[in-house]
Symmetry: C2
Subunit: 141 residues, 2 copies
Amino acid sequence: GNKIKAMLEDNGDFLIPADRVANVQVDNNLDHALLVLTNIGYTIIPVLDHHGNIKGLISMPVIMKAITGLKDIHFDQLSDLSVSEVMKTDFAQVEEDYELEDVLHLLVDNPFVCVTDDSGSFKGIITRKVVLAATNRLAHE
Amino acid sequence: GNKIKAMLEDNGDFLIPADRVANVQVDNNLDHALLVLTNIGYTIIPVLDHHGNIKGLISMPVIMKAITGLKDIHFDQLSDLSVSEVMKTDFAQVEEDYELEDVLHLLVDNPFVCVTDDSGSFKGIITRKVVLAATNRLAHE
Ligand SMILES: Nc1ncnc2c1ncn2[C@@H]1O[C@@H]2COP(=O)(O)O[C@H]3[C@@H](O)[C@H](n4cnc5c(N)ncnc54)O[C@@H]3COP(=O)(O)O[C@H]2[C@H]1O
Ligand SMILES: Nc1ncnc2c1ncn2[C@@H]1O[C@@H]2COP(=O)(O)O[C@H]3[C@@H](O)[C@H](n4cnc5c(N)ncnc54)O[C@@H]3COP(=O)(O)O[C@H]2[C@H]1O
């Protein structure tokens, strides 16, 4: 209970700051997003607007679903559709003064949690990796 | 240390059995693998041979990298290449009598760990989700 929470909290700041998080813009089209995802190697990344607010998440499965018909993949639609039309808008997010318990709860079902300030500006992400690394250290003590 | 390990171990069996794990075969070609990944919604899945042994992992980024040139995506290559030619062969795996500490360690850097029997036959996977769910329960007790 509280002992574990205190130990996880001792492990310091879990945030990966926004400037180290790969992202795309809402008005990028899908072939740009596909090339970014192919080159950076991350599975799912945030979508920002021009004010630095997070608007959604984009991943290859979401892009492929948008251009796949019953029998065929319509690759020509990649340059017609924009990221904002297909991105996932229901995603895990907390504010900077988050409770660790809430983040732990959200990481059960999400690969990462987005962190914003109180006006919605994107501050970074907390990933499962950093929490698992802290749990791993605790188990070895 | 040991208290956490004992608590995690009390949480029972973490294995998702092989018959509930989406997979493709080594000799499938890439357009088949792409359609399977698009439809099932999992990011990265195991590749099995015809004896039920795990040979690698396949994901959309790996497929897209294999058909993307400097400027262009060569979608026509999807039917020419087989899964075994592009799959990731370096992946986390343990045997059925695994130590929880080893699985915790592997889950820091891998979304899941593959479990085999002593002759290499695929038994299932242990995902980050089930370990995070157990950690989450411990933090709330
Ligand atoms: N370049 C790299 N170097 C070292 N390890 C790597 C890596 N790429 C992937 N991994 C490992 O694989 C896990 C899954 O990555 P994935 O890209 O599917 O899923 C990632 C990705 O979608 C996203 N992510 C992580 N870091 C990111 C970043 N800097 N920018 C954008 N998205 C990021 O958060 C998800 C969870 O990340 P997490 O670190 O927990 O878990 C990562 C990490 O353990
Ligand atoms: N259909 C669904 N129902 C409920 N939740 C879902 C879901 N699809 C994805 N999720 C959630 O999203 C996380 C990341 O899924 P992803 O497909 O990127 O990454 C997955 C996927 O690549 C693979 N995986 C999980 N279950 C699988 C299965 N039955 N067959 C094949 N691969 C599986 O293991 C990775 C980690 O899975 P984990 O459960 O830790 O983490 C999952 C889970 O928390």
